[in-house]
Symmetry: C2
Subunit: 161 residues, 2 copies
């Protein structure tokens, strides 16, 4: 299992920030997306559940958009954590990001029944704003491309509830 081999950024989010339906480890009903470094790229792997269909045999686009979204914020957190001199698991609390914008291009229907692999390239466009360009693979085929603008979460976010 990947979980035992690699530390994902979501594994070290503080409890207060672990309730995301996409990637929060404490959200029992959620997808539990987990994002980690693979060389200088970021990776999230997820196998859609049987119900995650658009039509029988194809993956639901909203799930893929969700994967790209959480992969984007997770990738940005990985990148800023690294820039701050940390590696996942060294005990330091990672930064948290929110999604400013999300763009998804569905290049071809995504087959259901195999793991999807989101592969991201992260670019800092401002000290508090990162762009993550993602390709989603089913096997060797890029089925979807995505772009997330991720913004450092304001410190007041939780207080504004």
């Amino acid at each position: 299992m990947i979980k035992n081999e690699v530390k994902a950024i979501q594994d070290i989010y503080p409890d207060d920030f672990s309730w995301c339906y996409g990637c929060g480890q404490k959200n029992e009903s959620g997808h539990h997306f987990r994002t980690f470094w693979e060389g200088d790229q970021t990776v999230t792997i997820y196998e859609p559940k049987p119900e995650h269909t658009a039509l029988p045999g194809f993956v639901y686009g909203g799930l893929i958009a969700s994967l790209i979204d959480c992969h984007g914020t997770g990738s940005a957190a990985l990148a800023l954590h690294k820039k701050n001199g940390h590696v996942v698991g060294d005990g330091a609390e990672p930064p948290r990001f929110v999604t400013g914008s999300l763009k998804v291009d569905f290049l071809k229907p995504t087959p259901h029944g195999c793991p999807l692999k989101a592969v991201g390239k992260v670019e800092e466009i401002h000290p508090k704003k990162f762009k993550v360009v993602t390709e989603v693979y089913a096997g060797d085929t890029v089925c979807v491309k995505g772009e997330v603008i991720a913004v450092v979460m304001p410190a007041t976010f939780l207080q504004n509830q």
Copy 2:
């Protein structure tokens, strides 16, 4: 209940096309988004479930992206069905669309615990391609804007599985 008062486009999708996790009536685990006309705009109303959180108190962005996605394809289907001289419920089978691209701008955090209302404007940009610009309201506040390019589903789509 809206379901008893208004016919949504998803209510009349053929069975083969009713398995979408977002809007398919036959997908028991899905969201069952339902899209209908309100004047010359299209509307989809959905109340996120307790687990659909980003952080406690705020709605998960991937769910909102899913809402905008299915609202987009549903709105395009409503528009082309109307252009073809039909009203929902007259017995004619509606056209089906797939999402070519999806863009979502998260303007502000979306509060959890109330229904969300997606309101769309549909524009034909090609006989087989429609643009749907959507605003997602929580109460009177627009929290998210979206744009979907929806494309008429190729007749060969189901055969290509």
